[in-house]
Structures are given as C-alpha cells and as structure tokens.
C-alpha cells in the first residue's frame, strides 16, 4: 500500500536544507505567536499564508504545519506561567497549570504540557498517515450528493459546539454562508451582491477574508486593551520533563486524550480548543479523584495539552482528502493549498503522493523537533509575554497588509482584509464566535455547488437525490450526534 517511490521522493523533498530551515522557523514562529496572549493558531497560519505564495508546496506546508503545531503548544506556556492562555486551545490548561506554577512546581507543569503536546502530536500524525489514504480512496467516489452530506454535517456540528449558544452559532454559520453567495452565480451568471462593481464578480476572496477575520479582528481587540503589566517569577521557567514512570502512570489519560483530540480534529469544523476541553472533562469524569482537578495536578495539564495537539493530525484528514477543513486553522491551511494551485480532495493523493508523504513525515518531524525547540523557547518566554500590545498590533497589521497585497496586487483584496477584520471585531464584541463564521465561509461554496449539482443529477426526483449510500451514512451519523445526548439521558432514567 505504501508507494515507496513517492516515499523516497518525499524524504528527498524534506531533506532540502531550505525546507528543514522553514520547518524550524515554523516551529519558532508558532511558539512565539502561541506564547503571545491572544494570537492563536488560525492567526499564526493566516499571517504566514500569503508569504508561502512564493514557495514550493512542500516547504510551504511544512512551514505552516510547524506554525500550527507549535502555536497550539506555545499557548500553554503563557497559560501556565501567567494564567493567561496564549491561545483558545490552552484555556483548559490554565486551571491546573497555573495553580501548579504558583505552588512552585512551574518547571514540572511546563514539562507535562510539553510532553503531552508532543505525544498527542505524534499520535495524530500516525493516525493521519493511516486514515487519510483510506478516506481518500473512499472520497474518490464522492460526488455532489456525498459532498452535500458532508458539508451539512460539518456545518451542523460546528454551530452546535462553537460558542456558548446554539442560536449564536447558527447565526454566525449562516452569516458565513451568506457571504459566500456574493459574486456571480456560477451556474447562470446572475450577479449577486456585486453592487455594480466587477471586483465582486468572483465573490469575496478566501485568503484576505480569513486573514482579516482572524488576524485583523484580533489586533483590533488587542488594541483596546491597555498595556497590562505582567508580573511573574521568571526564575521558575525551568522545565522539568516527567519521567517515564510518571508517564506510564498516566497512560490512560494520555491515550484517551490522544484519541479524543484526533477524533475531534477529524470532525469537520472542530478545533484544538474543543478537543482540549473535551479531553479535560473526560479525564476528570473518569478520574477516581475528580475533585482534585483544578487544584494543580499533572493530569489536568496532560489531558488538554495532549488532546489539543492531537487535533492537528486529525484536522488534516478531512482537509486533505475532502477539501473540507477539520478546524478553523485547517480552513486557513486549505487556503495555502489553493494558493499553490492544488485542489485538496481525493485526487491530491494520486496526483501528489510525495507531497502527502512529506506532510505526514513532516508533521512527525515537527513534533520531535518541537521537544528541543520548546525546551529552549521556554527560557525566552518571559521576554515574549512582556511584549507590549503597542508592538504586537502594528506588526501584525503590517504583516497582513503586505502579505495580502503582494499576492494579489489588488487593493480590493486589502479592502476585503480590512472589511473582514472589522466584521470579525464587531461580531466578537457582540459576544459571537468567529469560528462558525469562518467554517461557514469555507463550506459555503462547497455546499452550494454540491446542492445545485445534486439537484441537476436528481432531475426532480427526491429518491434520486438521496440515492447515495455514503451520503445516507453521513446523514445517519449526523442524526446520531444530535440525538446521542437526549437518547442516553432518556435511557439512564
């Protein structure tokens, strides 16, 4: 089953000095952005995305995956050291991590988060390499009706979990969908929301929109915050890696969190934050001493940190095989593939096997290297956490502008970047989440095309519309995820 020629060529591509350098650069950048409070993985990838335009596919993917993985891990450092999560993915780590830090066990806590992150990342990289080719074989049979089912699934799941309320999630998902209807109707050429301006003919461009939504909106929110002085004892930033014995003792938590993270990652739309919360609550629920969670115990760090890094490999599964992003960060990653002229989907495996192998092996390498780079980076974390907002905000804005303009040579796209940034800012100020908005925006075109093509195929017949075993399986799985909670609740009574 393993294509050895492609494997060798993938190793050759990865062995390129520039690629290896970018891999390290990606990890370092990811760590920096992850440590900086507020800037999470989607922003980190979004900022680097336009610059990958000038690279080959393998180096660009390696760079972005390095950023993705390291940003998720980096968030835990500030979560532990100052109690401010560097990223959403690290929110679950704050409770036990920061408590451990305050009781003088900071080095241990940092060691647990690093080890957990690496194990989760490695586990999901292996899962990706095993599952993705199988799913790609299946996905080759995906037609419009199957894609319709999978995008409905993704949308429903993301609005259900993202944010605090179902109606808010629905509204944001719908807003994302609505924005993708802008531009020329691809089937009959009707102009939709073009405002008489031909720049809108192809709709809102994906990459500027996502970079604006994540990065610009974040710096706008960050700009409001007064420079807060962060005080902590930098001397305690000395990592103490846990011994093998300790890890063996925690093997159940590690294993379960790895699986939870990977599965949450695979489900379209779910990201690292959800994976971390889920793993934390599972670990607590199954623990013999659940009351100890939140008081500063290692399990409370290992569970979320293992799971959030495990979402990376999981999220890549649907992204690469179906072109349906597994997480908001993967949605941005999808943009990177499109920039390269690659269409994510089942064909990617047969057309670019070496790229696929390079991604699998690259992700593996990233997690191993992250151990060493992470150990060094923690020493500099103190300086990073103290970087004032007045430096971060202009830097991120400038990077977004330069990146977007250099790819498209278009001021319209810079306008979209700003517009999406303001939209994201307003939406977040009103207490809504931008995650379902971004997923809706990415899934919108897939959904519309799939729906209208399915209608063409069905030619007026409802039976023909649902005459798809794969699609029906997906709808059944969707029904199960919705009804699971209520059903089990009823049976327990």
């Amino acid at each position: 089953m393993i294509d050895s020629a492609a494997l060798i060529s993938a190793l050759g591509l990865l062995a390129d000095p520039l690629t290896m350098l970018l891999l390290v650069v990606g990890i370092v950048l990811g760590l920096i952005i992850g440590i900086l409070p507020g800037l999470g993985p989607p922003i980190a990838i979004a900022l680097a995305l336009p610059f990958t335009f000038y690279m080959d596919p393998v180096p660009s993917m390696v760079l972005l995956l390095g950023i993705y993985s390291a940003a998720i891990y980096g968030g835990s450092i500030s979560a532990i050291a100052v109690g401010i999560p560097g990223t959403g993915a690290a929110i679950a780590t704050v409770q036990d991590g920061h408590k451990m830090f305050k009781s003088g066990r900071g080095g241990e806590a940092l060691g647990f988060s690093l080890t957990g992150s690496i194990i989760g990342g490695l586990f999901s990289a292996v899962c990706l390499a095993l599952i993705a080719p199988l799913l790609a074989d299946l996905a080759a049979k995906f037609g419009p009706r199957e894609y319709l089912a999978i995008s409905v699934f993704g949308l429903v799941v993301v609005v259900r979990v993202a944010g605090q309320s179902l109606s808010k999630g629905l509204l944001m998902g719908a807003l994302g969908l609505f924005l993708t209807t802008w531009g020329l109707d691809e089937l009959n050429g009707t102009e939709r929301y073009t405002f008489g301006n031909y720049h809108f003919y192809e709709g809102l461009p994906l990459v500027p929109f996502l970079v604006g939504l994540f990065a610009v909106s974040e710096v706008l929110i960050g700009a409001e915050r007064a420079a807060q002085r962060v005080d902590f004892d930098a001397a305690s930033l000395k990592v103490k890696l846990p011994g093998l014995k300790t890890l063996v003792r925690m093997k159940d938590v590690i294993m379960r969190s790895s699986i939870i993270g990977t599965v949450i990652g695979i489900i379209p739309g779910e990201g690292a934050a959800v994976g971390a919360f889920f793993a934390y609550s599972e670990a607590k629920r199954r623990s013999k001493e659940p009351e100890k969670y939140g008081t500063g115990i290692p399990e409370g760090i290992v569970a979320p940190e293992t799971a959030n890094n495990a979402t990376v490999g999981g999220a890549l599964v649907p992204t690469l095989t179906l072109g349906v992003p597994g997480s908001p960060a993967a949605a941005v990653l999808l943009g990177a593939l499109l920039i390269q002229g690659l269409t994510p989907g089942p064909k990617l495996f047969s057309e670019e096997p070496d790229l696929m192998y390079a991604i699998f092996i690259g992700l593996f390498l990233i997690n191993i290297l992250m151990l060493f780079i992470g150990l060094i980076a923690i020493r500099f974390a103190a300086q990073l956490i103290r970087v004032p907002t007045s430096v971060i905000v202009p830097t991120v804005l400038l990077l977004s502008f330069v990146g977007i303009y250099s790819v498209s040579n278009s001021f319209f796209n810079v306008g979209v970047l700003l517009g999406a940034g303001i939209l994201g800012y307003v939406v977040r100020k009103l207490g809504y989440s931008i995650a379902p908005l971004s997923i809706g925006f990415v899934l919108g075109p897939i959904l519309e095309n799939a729906l209208r093509q399915s209608l063409t195929i069905a030619d007026g017949s409802v039976l023909e519309f649902f005459n798809t075993p794969i699609g029906l399986t997906i709808y059944a799985a969707l029904a199960l995820t919705i009804l699971w909670g209520p059903l089990t609740a009823r049976f327990k009574k």
């Binding site: 000038y54 049979k141 691809e186 720049h199 192809e202 002229g341 498209s408 040579n409 278009s410 195929i457």
Partner: protein, 321 residues
C-alpha cells in the same frame, strides 16, 4: 527574492508617467498582466514568453498576476495604465471572448486594445471513462439519444461547455450539465463516476492516461496538435460531413489602443522569438502553440471567436446585447 522584485516593480510602476521618451523605448521594465493566478498554464506561458521578450528587448519583463473578478480587474488595470508599451495584457478566452460576450464590461477587446501576437492554442475533445460501454462516438450517440446523460464541463459559458452545447444542438441530444469548475476536476468527476461523459481539452488525456477514453475531437479542421495528443481520433468534421464543431481557445499579448505605432512595431517584431521552433520545443507538454503575428492577423482570429461563440451563447440566453 520574487517578493522584492514585485515590490520594486510596483514602486517603479507607481513612479512612471505617460510621457516616456519614444525613441529609447524600452528603457525600463515592462509588466505583463496575467488574469490567472500563478502556477497555472496561463501563468507558465506568460513567464516563458516574458523571458524571451526580455532577451529580445533588453529590459526585464515581469509577470504580474491579477486573478479574480471574472478577469475584469486585470483587463482594467491595463486599460487604465498609460498607453506607453510598458504594460501588456495577456489575453485568454475568458478575458477577451466569453466575459465581454456575456456581460456588460467596461472595456472592448477589439476597440480598447491592439493585439500583438497569439500563441497558446487548445481545442476540446469528448471523453468517457476507460470502462465505459461506449467505445465509439456512434455508440455514444445511440446511448445519448436513449438516455439523458450527465455531461461534465468546467464552467458554464466556457469553451468546453460551449463545445458541449454545440454538440447537443448539431446531433439533437439533451444532457444534464454539471459544471465542475476546472477541466481536471470535470475529468476527475468522470473517472469518479459523477458524470457519464466530459469535455476536456485534447491535451487533457496526458494527465489521465488509461483512465479515460477519447471519443471524438470537438472541432472540424485537423491540426498537428490533435495527432500529437489523440492519434487516430477523428474530428466531428471528419466523421460527419456538414456537422459544425469548433472551439476558440487562444492566448497571446495585447497593448492598450493608442500605444505609439513605433512601440507596437517593436513589440510585434520581438514576438517573432516566441514563434520559433526552438521556443515551442521549450514549452511544457500540456501547452499547444499556433503562432500568429501582428495586430491584423490576431484581430481576425478574435473575430473568428466572436462569430463562433455569439450564436451559441445567444442560444443559451447568455449573450449580452
């Protein structure tokens, strides 16, 4: 590096004014605007041609990609630039044919531009899966008359779709049309079983060898490229005398109307270098070339396209009047 170049070129473009001295043209870098994103066939051809022109003219020739907006922003950026020969447009079927024919655009390819040369050439072919029950075009015709088959094309209104429409009207067939966005995607849809037949270009076969079977070339007149990609496959005109088939898939360069004649002459003269056998041999395998030089000859080709597609688009109700 490339980023630097783009940035520098951008500043250079901002700084220039219309009144460049004619005698020394060209005395600074020339920009070629491509309405497709980097990496595709259109971009590759532009870069190879730019390199050749750079050697001929002695100044850097830079490719600027301006994708999006139904190709209109790219065209407009050239129309709004000074007519001084430093901004060239690389035209293609959407920018110079399908889009102006189907909607109100703020430019006219024939009036606002002077075409210099045309090179890239393609024509369409009808494909089925390798294991399809239709082994010949005649069997396909019978099958298509008995059942309404699903046909895969890239975009509605694009040349493959127009070839399909022409085929349907010439032979009295009816299809369910699925637009799958790109030619490779529509062929992938064919291989994956989402459509029964698909229209691709004659060179498309190279990427799907063994997975698909060509039935017929959707054109009338035979050209060497057909024999190169699809040896032994008939054209519609050869198989059925009197039946019409054709496609207009051409690419080349144009400058803004009003560009001084001396500059046009210099550019046309330099274009001879992209018509040599040596240049053609250096092109990627998937790109076919039919070199035509000079405003008059290329203008005639554009008119052929307009005459071919206007009635078909009109029949679809897509023609902009």
């Amino acid at each position: 590096m490339k980023l630097m170049k783009t940035v520098v070129a951008g500043f250079a473009a901002l700084g220039l004014s219309a009144g460049a001295a004619l005698a020394e043209w060209p005395e600074k870098p020339i920009n070629v605007v491509v309405s497709f994103k980097a990496g595709g066939n259109a971009d590759i051809t532009a870069r190879i041609a730019a390199e050749t022109f750079s050697k001929e003219l002695g100044v850097p020739v830079n490719v600027v990609n301006k994708p999006g907006g139904a190709h209109i922003p790219a065209v407009m950026s050239v129309k709004e630039a000074p007519a001084d020969g430093y901004t060239i447009f690389q035209f293609a079927p959407p920018s110079f044919m399908v889009v102006p024919l189907t909607r109100a655009v703020p430019y006219s390819p024939m009036d606002d531009f002077v075409p210099l040369w045309a090179g890239a050439f393609a024509t369409n072919a009808l494909y089925v899966r390798a294991d399809s029950p239709y082994t010949t075009f005649e069997e396909f015709l019978e099958g298509a008359k008995a059942n309404k088959l699903t046909i895969g094309v890239n975009n509605l209104g694009a040349p493959p779709n127009l070839s399909a429409v022409q085929l349907a009207s010439e032979f009295g067939l009816e299809f369910k049309t699925l637009a799958l966005k790109t030619v490779p995607a529509s062929i992938a849809g064919l291989v994956g079983g989402q459509v029964d037949v698909a229209v691709g270009q004659i060179a498309t076969i190279n990427a799907f060898e063994g997975e698909i079977r060509p039935l017929i070339i959707l054109d009338n007149n035979r050209v060497p490229a057909m024999e190169k990609h699809l040896p032994g496959v008939r054209t519609v005109g050869e198989a059925f005398e009197g039946k019409q088939a054709g496609a207009w898939v051409r690419g080349g360069w144009a400058v803004k109307a009003g560009t001084p004649q001396e500059i046009i002459d210099k550019l046309v003269a330099a274009s001879a270098a992209v018509g040599t056998d040596e240049f053609i041999a250096g092109l990627p395998a998937g790109i076919d070339w039919k070199f035509v030089q000079g405003p008059e000859a290329v203008g005639k080709e554009l008119q052929v396209g307009i005459d071919l597609y206007s009635p078909i688009l009109d029949g679809l109700g897509l023609l902009h009047k």
